[in-house]
């Protein structure tokens, strides 16, 4: 019986190091692998090394050491071939603001050697999908911030890349537009099989969209796992309970950490294995009426903050011992 073919990862990074000219070591030999068809989040605080990593992959940053392969093509051997698989949506607007929207996307197709007869229908398809078709003959500087972000997505998809890198794609975008962009990204991941790597500060975004996540801090990958697996490790979830009437002090509920965050709002920490129902029963016994409830913060965010804090503490300790 023939063995199943091993699938080539969309992105494979081994021992990637980057030391800037001023001596700052942005990446300390990171290893990362993203499977084809995955929706992958690269998370980390500012300056952790996310953009440097993606910069190396997209050729905007020169690596100091290590190996990067895009769909099996080593960027040191044949970067041009690797680039055909890659679409990049950077953090900052990086198109000529004085050019027409249609010219920007058509020029991008031209840089990939796409004939105009193919580029024109592709541009129409993408601009329509992203709600920019009516603006195609206007100057890019006249677009709103959200439209400019969508323009960068359209531009990056012109040559039908198999791997799309999105560096904080929804930064500064209003909630409605963010949701519609999420839907679009989900669609191209699901229907076209495009592998997506995302960096974001909105951890809700990563939790909602991504299947796998890597957390990077101080130039090192401190965690690389599935989003579900990561969330399963969450020990504590915090809930906010809005009360019908304000209280003078927080009620004592045995086994639970309950505090008064506002006169008519309780904060309740629920550990794994505990039942939220027990809290409601205890409050009911005291005649405290709950009118609504929500998570205090995004679950992934709690875990992320805790991991980064632990990482920072470990780094500070190591530096203190050195």
């Amino acid at each position: 019986m023939a063995e199943p073919a091993l699938s080539i990862p969309a992105l494979s990074i081994r021992g990637l190091t980057k030391v800037y000219a001023n001596g700052f070591q942005a990446l300390k030999g990171i290893d990362l692998e993203v499977a084809e068809g995955d929706f992958f989040a690269l998370l980390g605080p500012n300056g952790a090394g996310k953009s440097t990593t993606l910069g190396v992959v997209s050729s905007l940053v020169q690596k100091s050491d290590g190996k990067v392969e895009i769909f099996g093509t080593d960027i040191d051997r044949d970067f041009a071939r690797a680039k055909y698989h890659l679409g990049v949506v950077p953090q900052e607007f990086n198109f000529n603001q004085f050019e027409k929207v249609i010219d920007i996307v058509l020029a991008q197709a031209g840089y990939y050697g796409m004939p105009r007869r193919e580029a024109l229908p592709r541009a129409e398809e993408l601009l329509r999908d992203l709600g920019l078709w009516d603006k195609r003959n206007g100057s890019a500087r006249m677009l709103s911030g959200g439209m400019k972000r969508r323009l960068m997505i359209a531009r990056a998809l012109m040559h039908r890349p198999r791997l799309l890198i999105l560096d904080e794609p929804t930064a500064g975008v209003d909630i409605e537009l963010r949701r519609s962009m999420w839907d679009y990204m989900r669609r191209i991941n699901r229907e076209e099989g495009t592998t997506i790597i995302l960096t974001t500060h909105y951890l809700e975004e990563a939790e909602s969209l991504c299947r796998h996540v890597a957390i990077i801090n101080h130039g090192e990958i401190i965690r690389n796992t599935g989003v579900r697996e990561l969330l399963a490790e969450l020990d504590t979830e915090t809930f906010l309970l809005d009360l019908a009437r304000p209280l003078g002090e927080a009620p004592v509920v045995e086994g639970f950490e309950v505090s008064l965050s506002e006169p008519a709002q309780l904060t309740v920490a629920v550990h794994r294995g505990q039942r939220l129902n027990d809290v409601f029963a205890a409050l009911n016994d005291r005649g405290i009426e709950v009118v609504s409830m929500r998570n205090r913060a995004n679950r992934l965010e709690e875990m992320f903050v805790s991991m980064v804090e632990q990482g920072n503490a470990a780094t500070a300790k190591a530096e203190g011992q050195a």
Binding site: Y20, G55, S58, S59, L60, V61, Q62, F79, A80, R81, K83, Y84, L86, V88, P90, E92, F93, N94, F95, N96, Q97, F98, E99, D103, L106, A107, Q108, G110, Y111, Y112, G113, M114, P115, R155
Partner: protein, 257 residues
């Protein structure tokens, strides 16, 4: 990339560059036309009529080739310098860097764009000159050849300037303090035979003198310097600057961290 894909990429860059300078024609095409018209009126018609002949030709006929060449040099250089630097400044250069286009295609695209503007302005100035004199061309092929090579050379210069520039001021320093003096002292307005022998020797160190003289030779059939040597020197300069610019691009000078 296949040869066909490279041709598409190069054409895309060239069209983009042409669209850029034609979109802002009041800044790119109109000013040299007006400036050169002033030169023709003041130096050619008003003062020139009192100067008499230069190298056996009317002063107007003598300065027309030099003024056309001056426009080509200035516009080729400044087009690439400002366009590439704007791309750097707005980071739209990243569009090209993340694409599979080889660096030599990026370089050639910008150089062809600079040549297009330089030669376009050269044609406009030539048309303006026809209002003041009747042009005759002694060696048409040489005339076209040398103006094309000069446009390529100064486009390459503008590219290197833009790669090295960190701010907009840096792309105006060379045109103001190097190109303009060299062009004015490059035999546009006079024959170097009028100079004392020491200054004739100094003038021969000015590369623009060679371009202006070969171009004038193409029109009038007279030159202060050997035409063959001048053409060889221009070609050598082009090869050297192309190699330097490509090396800088490969190293990511000024565009990659």
């Amino acid at each position: 990339m296949s040869p066909q894909q490279i041709a598409i990429a190069l054409w895309t860059l060239l069209v983009k560059e042409i669209k850029r300078f034609t979109r802002i024609w009041p800044q790119t095409l109109l000013p040299p036309s007006i400036t050169m018209t002033m030169y023709f009126i003041i130096f050619g018609s008003l003062i020139g009529s009192r100067i008499g002949e230069m190298d056996g030709f009317s002063y107007m006929d003598f300065i027309v080739p030099g003024l056309i060449m001056m426009s080509v040099i200035t516009n080729s250089y400044s087009n690439v310098a400002s366009s590439f630097f704007s791309n750097k400044f707005q980071r739209s250069i990243e569009e090209m860097m993340v694409s599979p286009m080889p660096n030599w295609v990026i370089l050639s695209g910008f150089v062809l764009g600079g040549m297009a503007r330089g030669l376009g302005v050269g044609v406009i100035v030539t048309i303006v000159s026809l209002f003041f004199t009747r042009l005759s061309v002694a060696h048409p092929l040489l005339t076209v050849g040398v103006v094309v090579l000069t446009a390529a050379l100064f486009s390459l210069g503008g590219f290197i300037n833009a790669l090295l520039a960190d701010k907009f001021d840096d792309i105006s320093i060379v045109p103001t303090f190097v190109l303009t003096p060299l062009t004015y002292l490059g035999g546009v307005f006079y024959s170097i035979s009028l100079l004392p022998s020491f200054w004739q020797g100094v003038s021969l160190l000015n590369p623009i003198l060679y371009m202006v003289n070969v171009f004038r030779y193409g029109f009038l059939g007279v030159s202060d310097i050997p035409v063959g040597w001048a053409l060889a020197a221009i070609l050598c300069f082009i090869l050297v600057l192309f190699a330097i610019a490509l090396w800088m691009l490969e190293r990511g000078k000024g565009i990659r961290s």
